[in-house]
Symmetry: C2
Subunit: 202 residues, 2 copies
């Protein structure tokens, strides 16, 4: 069984979280998904809907896969010392630490992206880059892999990154099946990124 812990905090972005979780949750493999946060109970998203916490951060340290969504709430979380400590602890044993959108600001604030390549969403690009001064931020890419760190561009890019992670961990067929099940137009080339130009980053 593969344990996947997905972080939530007030003001997380709905699709950052649930796009990847749809795909991980549909893979023909034994994956246990747990929503984790700093406190029990419901946690509200940017768009309104609230998700229930399944386990506390301290109970999720043994997960092999971590997923960190972005959203406006990330601005408070990059100063949350408990959370940054948990991320550092989790990173020691995790196979893969994933972020979607501005979620990479949290990995950067924890120092985990120092000396690494990473990306984030287009609209907050310069702000996130300021959080991770020792990171090489890639402007035009759907996602970036550097060691155990997988960071994706904005919102829907998390789904393409998730499929790339599924491919790596469970094989190409598994990823392809999950995409076809979801009737999803998988962009399996990380260089596919028309949005960098649309948002004026390149």
């Amino acid at each position: 069984m593969t344990k996947l812990a997905a972080l939530v905090f007030p003001g997380f972005e709905l699709l950052d979280l649930f796009g990847p979780l749809e795909l991980f949750g549909s893979v023909d493999a034994d994956i246990n998904i747990a929503i984790t946060s700093g406190q029990q109970g419901p946690v509200g998203s940017t768009q309104g809907p609230r998700v229930m916490t399944d386990c506390l951060l301290k109970e999720a340290l043994d997960a092999e896969l971590f997923l960190i969504p972005g959203g406006p709430g990330i601005r408070n979380q990059i100063r949350n010392e408990d959370l940054l400590g948990w991320l550092n602890e989790s990173a020691k044993t995790a196979d893969m630490m994933m972020s979607v959108c501005t979620g990479s600001a949290l990995l950067a604030a924890a120092g985990l992206l120092d000396g690494r390549r990473a990306t984030t969403n287009k609209l907050s690009f310069s702000r996130v880059a300021r959080t991770g001064k020792n990171t090489q931020w890639i402007k035009q890419t759907r996602w970036v892999e550097d060691g155990k760190y997988w960071t994706s561009s904005g919102v829907s890019a998390g789904m393409d990154m998730a499929l790339a992670v599924i491919e790596r961990k469970f094989g190409r067929d598994c990823a392809k099946k999950a995409a076809i099940y979801a009737e999803y137009d998988w962009h399996n080339n990380p260089d596919w990124d028309p949005f960098a130009e649309i948002h004026g980053l390149v």
Copy 2:
């Protein structure tokens, strides 16, 4: 303010619900999103994560937009007389009734698709078609519009349908902005559907 009520039930499909809600929730318009179900408290998805109910079905009757996700749980819901009654009540005043994936089976079971064109996901196509015997089921299409009823193909197709609804209700610019914000590769032509062939339906 536009009220959008999104139905949940045990065993709903995560992306069916949260893909469209991400887009509706990011539109530059005053849209209030409420998760509605038959009882208060958390409701579990197929993939595991639980969403909180914001209001009961009877409190959501005045919504202008309704969203019905699919998922394995739909098989129980098509026999849920209270729910079918609520759908009929809601349909009287709603502007648009939307379903994603097998969610259209629920509209069909309520008799709301009688004499109409509709679609559903590929994997459950024949099963859903048996639920709605008086409906013309379209095999190859990303989504179908017939009157106030908008039905989409499987899972991720709900996002393209949501953008088409946003375009209709709030204008092309609004839909385009929401897609670009989400860095989403919008398929704005309902005829785009490679999955009908992949799944052997055509």
